[in-house]
Symmetry: C2
Subunit: 355 residues, 2 copies
């Protein structure tokens, strides 16, 4: 990759390059009247729709490691994690504002690589990059994305509507993102050891990651389940509660139970875990169900529906019914493959502050 210093083109030169990368995303949303180039983006909301808004901050060394993360994937992921929050409301993403704080070591091409990923993902999801901010950073790379979505009032889904007896559903398969992270950490350790020993660059020192591509893609390039939201709308299904799995299944299930004032019982045998994730867990002598319960950054959807609506989703292989909501006094439990009940309140996801 060539290296053009940002100081050579200046802040406004950089903003012009970013605006050019955002431009192809604008046509997807005709209600956007003005994107970058003024003090604010301008758009015309429909008074018939509810709006939802979310924001996510991605910090170097906390959420990503540049040694194992391609910059365009990072840009795409910054969009996907926000789309996932919009999807968790059963809503459709419309506008994003993307801010970036850029370390001194970064070149113009590196910033463009990030925004190429941002722009590519935005086009895939059909949302407009409507604005943002750029700044120098005295330390690490920071990406902050805010996203605005829209949905009809009668389809909007919060965390709080689940009732005892309803079915607990999850999309896709779980544990893959955790498997991918473990693999990348293993490769990073090998790479660092290689560097420390002052050995010349040798690509054969790295594992052939091709066979792990599913897990690594789950970690580096997760896809928000906008396809599921479209499906729910096409079948006129409004889940009674919904959340996206960013901090592990156990933690998210607790959130739904807390907001809905219910308990829950899920079955280990029904938690969807891909064959590839199980194989990696065996190889690393780790436990795939633990990854599924506590692994972050999965970006699948967890939702509840009344039992009577089971037939509306029965034919869909991307949706698994993993258990049912229970009385609030019943707690939040996993029934393991031997039928033992395990209290999930002791098995939670990641806490940024180690609390």
């Amino acid at each position: 990759m060539p290296y053009k210093a940002i100081s050579g083109i200046g802040e406004f030169g950089l903003i012009d390059k970013i605006a050019a990368l955002a431009e192809p995303t604008l046509q997807a949303v005709p209600e956007l009247l003005k994107g970058m180039g003024d003090d604010c983006a301008i758009y015309q909301p429909s008074g018939k729709l509810r709006q939802v808004a979310t924001t996510d901050l991605l910090c170097e060394q906390v959420h990503f490691d540049l040694l194992t993360t391609p910059l365009n994937h990072l840009g795409s992921k910054a969009i996907s994690v926000n789309v996932s929050d919009i999807c968790a409301m059963n809503a459709f993403p419309r506008y994003a504002l993307v801010s970036i704080a850029i370390p001194p070591s970064f070149s113009t091409e590196m910033v463009e690589a990030i925004y190429s990923g941002v722009s590519h993902a935005a086009k895939e999801y059909g949302l407009a990059i409507a604005g943002g901010d750029t700044s120098a950073s005295r330390s690490g790379l920071i990406i902050s994305v805010t996203m605005i979505g829209e949905v009809e009032e009668e389809m909007l889904t919060e965390r709080s509507g689940a009732k005892p007896g309803e079915l607990i559903c999850v999309t896709g398969s779980l544990g893959g993102a955790a498997a991918g992270l473990k693999l990348l950490m293993r490769e990073k350790a090998i790479m660092l050891e290689h560097f420390e020993n002052n050995e010349p660059y040798n690509k054969n020192v790295m594992a052939d990651l091709h066979e792990y591509s599913e897990a690594i893609q789950s970690q580096l390039l997760p896809l928000a389940r906008l396809d599921i939201v479209r499906l729910l709308h096409s079948r006129n299904i409004r889940p009674t509660s919904m959340i996206d799995i960013s901090d592990g299944l156990s933690s998210e299930l607790h959130h739904i139970c807390h907001h809905s004032k219910t308990g829950a019982l899920i079955h280990e045998s029904r938690v969807p875990i891909s064959a590839s994730t199980r194989r990696i867990a065996d190889e690393l002598q780790d436990d795939a169900i633990t990854w599924a319960l506590t692994g972050g950054e999965e970006y699948q959807l967890l939702f509840t529906i009344p039992k009577e609506e089971y037939e509306l989703i029965d034919d869909l292989k991307e949706i698994s019914v993993i258990g049912e909501m229970t009385d609030p006094d019943s707690g939040v439990y996993l029934s393991d493959i031997y039928g033992m009940r395990i209290d999930l309140s002791s098995i939670r996801g990641f806490d940024h502050f180690g609390g």
Copy 2:
């Protein structure tokens, strides 16, 4: 200030404290249906109004220095700089999402101090803190705020509508924020020298800053000119173009000329500079008009109106007419106090990347 480690209350404990500080801001905006606590904030836009959205990233050591910045002021400023962008569209701020990346050295009380400032400012401006994100930071403190505002289509003001012959107006006085920054840098240098010499703490080593309070407040606790937007609406004035002065008068005037395809001529003698700013410039042997032309973070409004509307603002001491728009071929000039014309294209504001 007591020191409670964030790890002691955990991420969700911290979010609860932040939500409690945001809560008093919610009642100002009845269209907000849900603030923090779900995957997204939810609100009901009016289809009759245009929405505008902006975002600003504040990075430690780039935008602020914790040695000279009280944390609650920093929280207020993070809100004000976004309100200022909304005001620059002649719009009213409604919702804010506030994200923060917190360094390992920060206590719960320090985070609460920042959000106290956020909440206080939000109440003053009548906007709701509708959501946000918290993260650990491996390096400096980062605050990212996104704000959504609303305005009737017929009052919305962009940068692009100025025409030759129109009057150039500016609110308040300029140069104060630059004066405040110079003073704080001087005090910081004295403080650091004192530390390096291992001298015991002695508050008399610091200047009595009371006499400089206007300038220091301009820098640390700027106010967005929402009062001016209210005034413009009450008099049914829609400026032909408007921008807020975040990078210095000269730079912002160039933006308006670029977007409106005009030139401009302003008069040094009419640029509003307070007596206190002039006194500080004399004391520091610096130049107040240079501060006014190039000093960032002023957060006054720069706008244009047709000559026929002069009588609508003539009585307002907070608005100064400093010149008029000219043909695009005439360039952007300052007529100094001796009547000499100075080309402002060589006098621009701050570039984050030193380009």
